[in-house]
């Protein structure tokens, strides 16, 4: 494979990833509730850093995650009925619906390859997220328990207050 072709391929791949992340960013950024705080953005190094108790299961769970981006959205967006309007844009670029839960709580997760996007609405809190990488989903309940037990530095405190 010649070098210019390989370069173009890598560039297109990078641009494609950026475009898919940008859909959720463009929707969430102007609607985030904590304007004085940045959205939560976790990379492999920060994911390991918050594991203050050195929980081996947690390290294994996050070992293949490249990036997590979490936004908490404002009350105006919660009251609006179009807080999930961006999901259609992801479906149009090939993302598949993995979970759709609605009633008193709302949870939507879509995925394509190693990219996942979703939203979670519990009571008066609404979060959107983007995850790049692989994760053992059946271990997530254990991860939540770790957060509750304080084994992990609670980086979500301010956003979820």
């Amino acid at each position: 494979m010649n070098k210019p072709f390989l370069f173009t391929l890598l560039l297109l791949s990078a641009l494609s990833d950026f475009a898919q992340e940008s859909i959720i960013k463009e929707f969430s950024e102007p609607r985030r509730s904590t304007r004085w705080l940045n959205p939560i953005c976790l990379y492999p190094s920060t994911l390991r850093m918050i594991n203050i108790s050195g929980d081996a299961n947690y390290n294994e769970l996050v070992s293949d995650i490249e990036k997590i981006l979490i936004y908490r959205l404002d009350s105006i967006t919660i009251m609006s009925e179009d807080y999930d309007s961006w999901i259609e844009t992801y479906e149009n670029v090939g993302f598949e619906e993995y979970i759709n839960l609605y009633g008193k709580q709302t949870m939507k997760i879509l995925g394509k390859g190693e990219e996942y996007v979703g939203l979670l609405k519990v009571e008066e809190k609404l979060l959107t997220f983007y995850l790049k990488g692989e994760i053992a989903f059946h271990k997530i309940p254990n991860l939540i328990q770790s957060f509750r037990k304080g084994n992990l530095l609670n980086v979500l405190t301010e956003q979820l207050r």
Binding site: E96, E97, Y98, I99, N100, L101, Y102, G103, K104, Q105, I109, G111, A136, F137, H138, I140, P141
Partner: protein, 173 residues
């Protein structure tokens, strides 16, 4: 030739629409009613609801079972004003949709009916309706279903309504 292709495409479209018609009807009817929790899960995400204590054997079995399934839909409420009417209505809808009854459980607390629909000997959908004094639930599992494995799947998942499917173990040869 074009006509044949058109007919085949139309028929395949109908087949897709036909799947999960009963549960879709209830999910649409109670879409805006917050007393009902509605869940639709792609089989790729079944593991999010699984409870496996790190046993590799359980994990392998879980992936074997779910590999041929397409998904699951659940609509449930802990408090409905007339669960008996809702239960009887769902049972009637299931019968009309051509499902074959597999198992019925009746006790003082709850009534449960499990039914299946097959095509060319392959079970494509399993539907379970549950009605209690105040509760109601309808569960649909679809894809290629192996009844012998469904009870194991139910025992590995943290979804309350699936506990009745664990009874299938004794009902299937």
């Amino acid at each position: 030739m074009k006509k044949i292709v058109l007919i085949l495409l139309t028929c395949s479209g109908i087949a897709v629409v036909e799947g999960q018609t009963v549960i879709n009807k209830y999910m649409e009817k109670y879409e805006d009613d917050e007393t009902f929790t509605k869940v639709s899960v792609n089989s790729k995400m079944f593991s999010l609801f699984a409870e496996m204590e790190g046993s590799e054997e359980d994990e392998q079995l879980f992936y074997d079972i779910t590999s041929k399934l397409k998904g699951m839909k659940v609509i449930a409420s802990e408090k409905v004003p007339s669960p008996k009417i809702l239960y009887n209505g769902a049972v009637s809808d299931i019968e009309k949709a051509g499902f074959e009854e597999l198992m019925t459980v009746k006790d003082a607390e709850e009534n449960v009916k499990i039914s299946i629909k097959d095509k060319n000997g392959i079970i494509e959908e399993l539907i379970m309706v549950m009605g209690g004094k105040e509760k109601f639930a309808l569960v649909s599992i679809f894809g290629e279903i192996n009844l012998k494995q469904i009870s194991k799947l139910a025992s590995l998942m943290r979804i309350n309504q699936l506990k009745y499917l664990e009874n299938l173990d004794g009902a299937v040869d």
